[in-house]
Amino acid sequence: MNNTVISVRGLGKAYRIGMVNPKHTNFRETVMEAVKTPFKRMRKYDDDFSTDEPDTFWALKDINFDVGQGEVLGVIGRNGAGKSTLLKVLSRITEPSEGEARIRGRVSSLLEVGTGFHPELTGRENIFLNGAILGMKHAEIKAKFDEIVAFSEVEKFLDTPVKRYSSGMYVRLAFAVAAHLEPEVLIVDEVLAVGDASFQKKCLGKMGDVVKHGRTVLFVSHNMDAVASLCTQCLVVEKGRASEKLSPEDGVKAYLSLTNADGSVPLRERPRIQHRTRPAIFTGLKITSGSGHPNVVQTGDAVTFEIDIENCEDLKNVTCGIALHNERSQRIVFFHTLFHSGFTFAGSKAGKLICKVPSLPLVPDSYYVELVMSDGYQFIEKVERVDRLDVVFANTLGTGKIPSRGQGFFVLPCDWKHEG
């Protein structure tokens, strides 16, 4: 491929465990440690540590891929999978431990909006400062100044120190500067998840714009909608290793199946809120639907929650509920036995609670499931973020279009007509 812009070969990044988060507790401890084991401490911060040592953790290992000119490569994966490390290596923030990457063209990375913003400086001053930090020339910032201000919608407050800005204004200004970068290669980490819904849409539009003009973009996101709509190719990162380049659809699918095969901590051992301490009641949750994948449901489809319960032989007349929260922790729906007839509960050593929802018309997004059991006054047990439920697009309205995240919470049918 001769139009390769980014070429990554055998890239790896190792951290020595303990170095990722060195202890700097207090002066006395530091001195004592240094006195007791002076060489260990020096070795710990030595640059060229051997990567075969047992306390080495490979955040990235053996990454290989090429990105061609004008491609938009989505990098997806769970938290801690190594996506951010990959972006940090490619943006030269941290150095790889092995392998190499070659990049052609001016690179800009946006791992955070508003890096270097100073709260005491005014909006105007911060535009210049942040622009310079992002690598823009003074003349370039000056030329785009009006555009940046218009995009940020904070004209009136340009001469106010940004510490007096609302968080929304702050983020809008910060993104506006970043959005006017014109690098050949743009590396973006999840910065679209800022601001209110309408601003998010504007940012997404701006990103789409950048893409249309033949720039090469590396884009990390948890927003599967954005990945599917903006990216031309997709890389799924898991435990420091990257998949082949996939089509966005396949990438999103691979990611969803990853998120659901979460074997981390069994529900039984998860922290929970209990009014009176007792053995765990909720011990398992299974979410099934017509989609075939566990924990993935198409908008408007039926979904079944099966909750395993234990240790509740002493309980009678309890109520149970399943709540779905979105990523911004807004409670979207609440399925609770209080609102529905036909539920009786007699204590048992172990059993199952089954909740069938005939239709779940939520907008495509990720939702978190919360389980509660109460005696009418107090929580007997409540477990937050038990599992994730991904609602994915379905053509329920027959037009190929449905509201998306930020445009509403539900996908409901209706009739429109014009009279008169």
């Binding site: 000119q69 923030i93 070659r102 930090i133 539009g205 033949g214 495509p364």
Partner: protein, 304 residues
């Protein structure tokens, strides 16, 4: 998933970019692990020079914001120090001003001022420069930039203060009717040396503070003890006799602070050795600072 194509259609393109991107006119950037000694990338520093200016400009702007007297502090702060130390020196019993040469006897304030100007600059550079990296970790962990600029930019606001101080100093000198010695023409060179020495120190200390936060506690001591060991206040001649004063040159700050005085005050005596020692110290500290900073730089983001 295709639903969200509609999101893009909702937002009209806001402007037109230059549509053609010429990737091949650009040099290829190679990212790979580096070992050992990493030379300073002067070319990169030069292309990003505007950033250095903006960072320094930010520090200057922020320094006196929301202070009622604002920039007036740049004039008041050194004058207050001079006043306090003049009172101490003139105190009965201490009488340290008696050890001053005859032409300076009536100009204790000027004598102190001349030493305090470089010292205040150095201690500010060590203090703010040394903590510049740990205080702005986002600049290390969220973006790539020539990181040498972060400690270097802190020198800028010190430089502005120093210029203001010199202004006040010369007004005082003229007002008091003191005629300086001809070596005063070396003053710009001394200022340059002070800046370079401070840069070197800021590089070493800021890089070391990223790894060893202990320096956060040590830096204030360095500046306090350094002031006395460099004889910024007490005239060293009142403590050391001629035979032993060369020991003082082991202190990297002594030569430079004294050179400021010896190039201006006739009676104090021109001391080329002090100047030479400060040139050597500056070269050594700056070279080591650059070397150490570059060596540790690639791990900053991992341990910051």
């Amino acid at each position: 998933m295709s639903s969200s194509v509609s999101q893009l259609e909702l937002t009209k393109p806001l402007e037109t970019h230059p549509p053609v991107v010429d990737y091949y006119s650009q040099a290829e950037l190679v990212i790979r692990p580096r070992r050992g000694w990493i030379p300073v990338d002067w070319k990169e520093l030069w292309t990003h020079r505007e950033l250095l200016y903006f960072l320094a400009w930010r520090d200057v702007k922020v320094r006196y914001k929301q202070a009622i007297l604002g920039v007036a502090w740049a004039v008041l702060a050194p004058l207050l120090s001079v006043l306090v130390f003049t009172l101490i020196m003139g105190a009965r019993g201490l009488g340290t001003n008696k050890s001053l040469p005859p032409d300076l006897k009536d100009h204790t304030g000027l004598f102190l001022f001349a030493g305090l100007i470089p010292w205040m600059f150095i201690s500010q550079a060590i203090g703010t420069g040394g903590l510049s990296l740990v205080n702005q970790q986002n600049l290390l962990s969220k973006i790539y930039m020539p990181r040498l600029f972060i400690p270097a930019s802190t020198i800028g606001s010190g430089l502005v203060d120093m210029c203001i101080s010199f202004g006040v100093f010369f007004i005082w000198m003229v007002g008091a009717g003191y005629t300086p010695s001809p070596q005063i023409v070396l003053l710009p060179f001394l200022v340059l040396l002070t800046v370079l020495l401070s840069l070197g120190l800021a590089f070493v200390l800021s890089a070391a503070t990223v790894t060893y936060r202990d320096l956060r506690f040590l830096i204030p001591f360095i500046t306090q003890i350094g002031m006395w060991l460099s004889f910024v206040i007490l005239p060293y001649k009142s403590v050391f006799n001629k035979k032993w004063e060369y020991v003082l040159l082991l202190n990297p700050f002594f030569g430079i602070v004294d050179s400021f005085r010896s190039c201006m005050f006739r009676g104090w005596g021109w001391q080329p050795w002090h100047l030479l020692s400060s040139v050597l110290w500056t070269a050594a500290v700056l070279a080591f600072g650059l070397f150490y900073f570059r060596k540790t730089e690639r791990r900053f983001a991992d341990i910051a």
